[in-house]
Symmetry: C2
């Protein structure tokens, strides 16, 4: 049998199968039908199944295929991809990857066998973000319960806008958001909230609500009707604040950045100066975005002091706790976010410290009704006023999105699985790991800390290779040190051993930032990571 028979076949049958009684009345001619029958016979001989075009799973055609795909996913992605015995990635640069992976889209359908091969290849060439040594971002891990939540989310393929279409998920969002507000410390968990597609857009929602509270006419008339608005955030805050300020018509120049102290925390004195400067310019201070867990250093802005300033000047207090919010689950560490209960709005991404699958991002508000007031459009085709049920759970109109993927189930299901105590142990173990790692590199001469006493589980450090040790006073020391991190990063990517991110910040040359948020890591892993740096950098 020539090897290209299956391809030939798939060109011609193109998605219709004999097991499929429904296809026959799809409006085709009998001549077409006959053709298909012929091809079906050939196909039966070859024993190949070809993808169908109909948008429905059929037991006789898809059950075996779906099970086989799930076997591949379980074996290659879920278990092997998270095993210490496997690599974090198999590196290929873009030019190579275009050659070895068949990205091309074609006219004809594929066989199920080809699709399984594609599935395997996709896993092979993807980074295993659930691998214990993927400590590169503020997200990582492949939580088994979160994963089940995702699989079910996909299989129900809902959109959360009306109770009628999403009964379970509409109520589930209300329950989860209320519990989160309780943890933030809003009185009785009252207020409002939404799931947003990521922390950046959630920050935008906070800006939007603050602006609306200032003057609700802004909804109709735009910011042209207001004086120039200014918001404040630290120089170490997430870049999304500026991105969203631009997207929302305010302009990046109207984000006044506030200096940070030696641990990366917002300077209260400089915040006050910036507010005074704004007032002297005749512009209007309207929002302070404090950060509870900066992206690089993991710094915690002084929330109580910022709340005092916000009260004094009657400015909206927003806390970007996308990263640090998870600490609220831990009795031991929730004190780190002291003062967060005084915020007008908080963003908290459970997909970060709590390792809920991508994406799970929330905005929590002290104010009731503001999201609706700012966003509602009362579209007649979705939010009918003459429905037969109580429409208070038709929550879609609070959002700027219309169709919206369900992000609550994976979080709720994981919370149900582990309980609050499970999240607490997870958070506590992440801190324990970070502390163990810190203590272990503190007194070594090949590691130097950027921040001696980090506040969260980000540990920032330089690896000092033998050639640079003791050369701190050389004029080109910084310049040479700057080149070390990219070199080590290249080596770890190419041997696939681990992934740790690096960056320069202000006058500081490139340093590594490792992020501990995996409760699958143990002290022995900390030592392994240290040894890997040593191995990768010892000849530099």
């Amino acid at each position: 049998m020539p090897s290209n028979n299956s391809e030939l076949l798939s060109i011609e049958t193109c998605g219709t199968t004999s097991e499929d009684p429904i296809s026959s009345d799809a409006g085709m001619s009998s001549e077409e039908d006959e053709k298909i029958v012929k091809k079906e016979i050939l196909k039966e001989v070859l024993g190949k199944k070809i993808a169908t075009y109909e948008s429905i799973p059929k037991r006789e055609h898809h059950e075996k295929f779906l099970r086989e795909c799930m076997e591949i996913i379980l074996k290659d992605a879920v278990f092997q991809g998270t095993s210490r015995d496997s690599k974090v990635l198999e590196w290929h640069d873009p030019v190579e990857l275009f050659k070895i992976f068949d990205f091309s889209l074609r006219d004809k359908a594929s066989s199920h066998d080809d699709l399984k091969k594609i599935l395997k290849d996709t896993i092979q060439y993807s980074v295993k973000t659930g691998h214990p040594y993927f400590v590169n971002q503020l997200f990582s891990c492949l939580d088994p319960y979160g994963l089940v939540g995702q699989w079910l989310t996909d299989s129900l393929n809902a959109s959360v806008y009306t109770y009628e279409v999403s009964p379970i998920f509409s109520l589930m969002e209300e329950v989860v958001l209320r519990e989160m507000r309780v943890l933030v410390g809003f009185p009785d968990g009252k207020g409002d909230g939404i799931f947003a597609p990521g922390g950046s857009i959630a920050n935008g929602y906070a800006i939007h609500c603050a602006r609306h509270k200032l003057n609700p006419n802004v909804k109709e008339n735009g910011i042209h009707s207001l004086p120039r608005l200014v918001l404040y955030t630290s120089e170490d805050a997430h870049y999304s604040v500026k991105k969203l300020a631009s997207f929302m018509g305010l302009g990046t120049n109207n984000v006044y950045t506030v200096k940070t102290d030696d641990r990366g925390r917002m300077s209260i004195e400089h915040l006050r100066e910036q507010i005074q400067k704004t007032l002297s310019e005749g512009a209007l201070p309207f929002l302070v975005c404090a950060t509870a867990g900066t992206t690089v250093l993991g710094a915690l802005d002084p929330l109580e002091k910022i709340a005092n300033i916000c009260e004094e000047y009657k400015i909206w207090m927003h806390v970007d706790a996308a990263w640090g919010g998870g600490c609220l689950m831990s009795e031991k560490h929730r004190h780190l976010l002291k003062g967060i209960h005084r915020a007008d709005s908080v963003i908290w991404n459970p997909h970060k410290l709590l390792t809920i699958p991508q994406q799970c991002s929330t905005l929590l508000l002290r104010h009731e009704g503001l999201l609706s007031a700012a966003n509602s459009a009362n579209a007649a085709y979705l939010f009918q006023k003459d429905k037969f049920y109580d429409t208070q759970y038709d929550i879609g109109d609070k959002h700027i999105q219309c169709g919206r993927r369900v992000d609550v189930l994976k979080f709720w299901f994981t919370w149900k699985a582990k309980g609050t105590t499970g999240f607490q142990r997870h958070v506590d173990k992440s801190f324990d790991n970070a502390n163990f790692f810190l203590e272990n590199i503190k007194n070594r001469d090949d590691f130097k800390l950027v921040i001696e006493q980090p506040e969260l589980t980000n540990i920032c450090f330089w690896y000092i290779p033998p050639s640079l040790r003791g050369c701190e006073n050389d004029p080109d020391y910084h310049q040479n040190l700057h080149k070390i991190a990219p070199k080590i990063k290249e080596r770890m990517m190419k041997d696939g051993s681990m992934m740790v991110s690096y960056q320069a910040q202000r006058e500081l040359p490139n340093f590594f930032r490792i992020v501990f948020q995996s409760s699958a890591l143990n002290h022995s892993d900390m030592l392994h990571i240290i040894q890997t740096f040593e191995r990768l950098g010892k000849d530099l």
Copy 2:
């Protein structure tokens, strides 16, 4: 054995298991360890597994559980949920649902058995959007190949911002977006594009790009530095245009709505009038948002004529083809979007007509570099300039999002599976169904069409119950007819037989809008749907 033993157990073991060698070094005291061992013995006796708190799947603890969950999902959600023999939903109002479904979150961990029960309940009380008779929204279906794409997406849990973290998906996005631009008709498929979290935000991106092209200073200085900006869209356009105009600081009043003709298409004359009005006010026309497939009527704005006007006045032409874009896959129906190639930007949601799982939404641009120019922030911790590879595929900085879930794989995988010809047959069959349905209700006295010649697969109609037939001239006819659709909708929800949406529009009383985008439907289903209306409405 008392029935609450497992609960007692789960309170105390709270997530640690004897199969779990790693837990022992999680920083616990030996006393705590001892307690756990005792509970483990008890647990072994009971044969119950309790959820672990660690954020990693472990073969010995999770493999069986994951398989069992997948069995439930396959059986209840994937196959039973899409079967004509099952109900579309099991209706309960919010008060009841709060009683019968255990939404509560607790301190303690749950057993795997409890979690499987939760999974089953979640499926039971969710609407089956993949059911053939869920014809309620501009999305539906549970595509088997899209579903595999989702499951794999979840299992790789990536974020598409840098090539380093998402090599496959970064390149895959480029390939898919280019193919889509080719279908739109941009010369050589050139231009730019992104995946966005839904059509609403994608519309916002178009506004953002248009504004930036007008004057790039808007990025830094905001719209305060510009004259009042006005954009245009039809009165039947999606409400997100106004929502985003508000979010982006322009204000809903600066969206000038353009009247539609008797089929719901934008009036060119009125568009011109509105532009002239703007100019006479000293404001600046900057964007026309044409719609290729309005939400309710499925109308197609006259794209060629709008393109002429945009050229004449030098206004950005945006086409919201979220719904109609899928027609571009069909040789037979792509002519409906004639003129779309002249747009500056297009949004197209493959999760609508092409039934890719939620969400899959794209913005396609004729202009290269504009997204980067408008959005880039060059965050040092992600987009390092000294990386060891070519960073042209570090595409994250084009977005306002930072972390971003992978939405491309499910689309690419389905395209790979079905081929372009598969999508074509899918689209053609949807039109064939719509046409068959239309022809069948046309001459019946219990159905009356809102639009005699719909352009897409939305069919809008009134069901006229026996009591109202022949009463068209009664003074309270409209008022009575207005009450029929909510009543029938209530009945179909309560018996779970199907879901079709209704709405009023302008002076028109409540009418049904049925949307055909499932290629799993056949002519016999059309007749079944008609009969169901008859059955539900015959005594009204």
